[in-house]
């Protein structure tokens, strides 16, 4: 079974520029998560999709971050404009959960390491 695919693996941009990340979840996984992981900290949920609907985006800085999952499969996360504090690893995860199912594990991609200069 293919895992969660993310691209690019690394991205370096200057502050105020824009950047986009792509994620393809495991086939058949209804729920997709985007996390921000700052060095030395645990992953912080930015947005959770179930199919193509948003379940939770309460911690997404909506003035600069946006995400979409148009066909309920792959997803993109965009930052515009980027700030220095956005330097982090952006992780995508997926699970079989089709609703509130706290017994379903999350499977992570390798992440995108973003550096803001």
């Amino acid at each position: 079974e293919a895992g969660v695919a993310q691209s690019p693996r690394y991205k370096i941009i200057e502050k105020r520029q824009s950047v986009a990340f792509w994620c393809n979840p495991i086939s058949g996984h209804a729920t997709l998560y985007w996390y921000q992981q700052i060095l030395g900290q645990g992953p912080k949920l930015l947005i959770q999709f179930q199919n193509n609907g948003v379940v939770d985006d309460s911690q997404l800085p909506k003035d600069r971050f946006s995400a979409e999952r148009l066909k309920g499969v792959d997803s993109t996360l965009k930052i515009q404009p980027a700030k220095l504090e956005d330097s982090a690893v952006y992780l995508c995860a997926s699970s079989l959960a089709t609703g509130w199912q706290p017994d379903q594990p999350q499977h992570f991609g390798d992440g995108t390491r973003l550096s803001i200069l």
Partner: protein, 108 residues
């Protein structure tokens, strides 16, 4: 509402045992455990559901005390491959939150 993990870091010799704790102030439905090696994605280890069950995965097991909203991860006869950062993730109500992590280093 982020869970608290202890210790923050632990250093072991190969073959020694370790316990990592995770606690929450909220009533929990489940606790997830993941291990992340440097520069890699978190890898799922196990899920504990409310009910006080204990699970095992090779020489790694965990327990969940529903009354205390605490979970413990037990690493027995640690191997070099156990090195990494261990995160618990707690599910309460409609939210899932990862803890800050415990860095485990196993030395030969």
């Amino acid at each position: 509402q982020q869970p608290v993990q202890s210790p923050q870091a632990v250093i072991l010799r190969e073959g020694e045992d370790a316990v990592i704790n995770c606690s929450s102030s909220k009533a929990l439905y489940s606790v997830h455990w993941y291990r992340q090696k440097h520069g890699e994605a978190p890898v799922f280890l196990m899920i504990l559901l409310k009910g006080g069950e204990q699970k095992g995965h090779e020489k790694i097991s965990a327990s969940f005390n529903e009354k205390k909203q605490q979970s413990s991860l037990y690493l027995t006869a640690s191997q070099l491959s156990y090195s990494g950062t261990y995160f618990c993730g707690t599910a309460n109500g409609q939210n899932f939150v990862f803890g800050p992590g415990t860095r485990l280093s196993v030395l030969p």
